[in-house]
Symmetry: C2
């Protein structure tokens, strides 16, 4: 399997996901500035993965620091503030940076070196925790499926990439598939290509086919036809931020997919770690939606697809209202509506 | 304005729509074989435009013919049969070829030359009729809008291309916009890019911006976000085949768009000439859906977007059930549900 992120001892080695599926390119990140750029350009993406990446990014501020301890502490806090501006929607980013800020505040280190060790230990902990949380999401999600779907293969539809490459390992929406594969449960996946950045065809199809899971790619607007043909047992997606009432922000296109699933009575399941839940927001209206560069739509990967100078609408996320969600599966449990976390 | 199709005196000059938006390339078609290929490769596309094109294609069989009259007649009928295999979904194709077959059967010509003149006259009649029918659809569609939407600009969302370049002139879904522009009614269009072949960004955005109509391109999966923001007054789309009950086949992605429009109470209107109505089909279940080359999805315009060898699902059309359609506007009238033609 490909690794999303590895600590080399002095830098963070990221798989450059902008190069998939044509190239497996690794990039070494040694400064908070480079990490900010990598997150913004989607070299690393997926709410859990950018949380862990940003934490390491803030840690790099201390590791690169030459000077007295109080200034080093401030440098880490400044780096955390800066990294928090890399993307607006995923709450895991802010959550992971808060863990780093807590380490700085709680730290009893008497040298920059010790502070670095404490920060690095916290990053490694976040890394390991993400892996084990995703594994747990996979186990709970698989149990949820096995209770409800008796035929084989179980056929899931997913959108964007909420797989191993959106996290440290296993993924969120795809975790039940990997855990199922380990246990010999026959699974099959339809993957929306997910315009504009094609994470579904470039990333999800790549990681699933490398893992030997049968995967079929379709354009986002074809999912309704699949469901009309009764070929989908459930829709499994990730989330970037979940409000207290269960409204869930995820990659653009998730909300209309939920509407289609509801029309056909197909269960629509959101899988995400509890760090994705933003208890400060009563509902989805408060979730900021990132609007990205028009070129992503009209010059995808350098291809000119529209007349020059045309106006473009390019929100990167949408919010699926809780009442369209059958279950929200975290590392703790499968929540059913009405959602209370 | 760009012309979809022109008769040069000895050939059909088509705008090569596969080259838009980067190139305005014209291609001369001199044989039924070339026309079959042009229709199959979508050099010319749009249900009304392929009907007229196919008619000219069959006519070319007679014009190229050297030999006795009865064999010439058979050559035209054979060409019509062959051209009918170029694409399966649009019924206008079969309808236009039936007009050509009638000319052959009714013909009292005593020479191949006279037969050619009769056929060519029929093609020119189909050409002019398409233009005037589309103009009429535009007038009826505009009146429908002006009755219901009082603010300006009127903002429409469309999918794929049902514009001038899908017909001889004016288009179907876009005809009310062109007629409105002539009459000084402020209009604005959001155009779904329409994966996989991007007719919305490549063709609709090109023809509207050339005509001076404000147009904004979005990915298909973003339309729900637009409607949630209450930015759309109505969805206007074309159709490739309409069953007797009003179920309407159109470009893939139309059906989920209708579901989204229904969710937000946005009127969803199908505009098409009566030649699109297939009275032989009681409902949409009988409409054959073309499945096209996987490369359209995973190698769009030469760009590799998925790992090699991945499976692909690529239906070119879907069927919107009549109960999601607010009105069906033909050159005769605006039909309201329940539809009876």
């Amino acid at each position: 399997m490909l690794s999303t992120l590895e600590w080399t001892g002095s830098s963070v080695r990221l798989l450059d996901q902008t190069q998939l599926p044509t190239k497996i390119a690794l990039v070494d990140i040694s400064t908070p500035l480079q990490m900010h750029d990598a997150i913004r350009r989607l070299v690393v993406r997926g709410a859990p993965a950018i949380g862990v990446s940003a934490a390491y990014g803030a840690c790099l501020a201390a590791m690169n620091f030459q000077g007295p301890l109080p200034v080093a502490r401030q440098a880490v806090l400044d780096a955390a503030d800066y990294l928090a501006t890399s993307r607006p929607t995923a709450v895991n980013l802010f959550w992971a940076l808060d863990q780093i800020r807590s380490v700085v505040r709680r730290s009893v280190a008497t040298s920059v070196e010790t502070l670095c060790q404490e920060l690095l230990a916290e990053c490694h902990r976040l890394f390991e925790e993400d892996r084990s949380r995703c594994r747990r999401i996979g186990e709970i999600g698989l149990a949820w499926l096995l209770e409800r779907v008796k035929h084989r293969p179980i056929t899931l539809l997913t959108h964007c990439n909420a797989g191993a490459l959106a996290t440290i390992a296993y993924g969120t929406a795809l975790a039940p598939i990997y855990v199922g594969a380990e246990q010999g449960v026959a699974m099959e996946v339809y993957s929306d290509e997910t315009r504009p950045l094609l994470q579904g065809s470039r990333i999800t199809a790549t990681e699933l086919s490398r893992a030997g899971i049968p995967v079929t790619v379709l354009c986002d607007n074809m999912a309704a036809s699949l469901m009309r043909e009764k070929r989908i047992d459930a829709v499994f997606v990730g989330a970037d931020r979940i409000a207290a009432n269960g409204d869930a922000a995820n990659k653009i296109g998730t909300f209309p997919l939920a509407l289609v699933a509801r029309h056909f009575g197909v269960p629509f399941v959101v899988l995400a770690p509890t760090s994705t839940i933003d208890a400060t927001l009563p509902d989805g209206r408060g979730i900021p939606i990132e609007h990205r560069n028009p070129a992503e739509v009209v010059e995808p990967f350098g291809l000119k697809t529209a007349p020059p100078g045309v106006a473009v609408y390019n929100p990167a996320f949408d919010v699926t209202p809780a009442d369209l969600i059958t279950a929200i599966i975290t590392e703790k449990k499968a929540h059913a509506a009405p959602f209370r976390f």
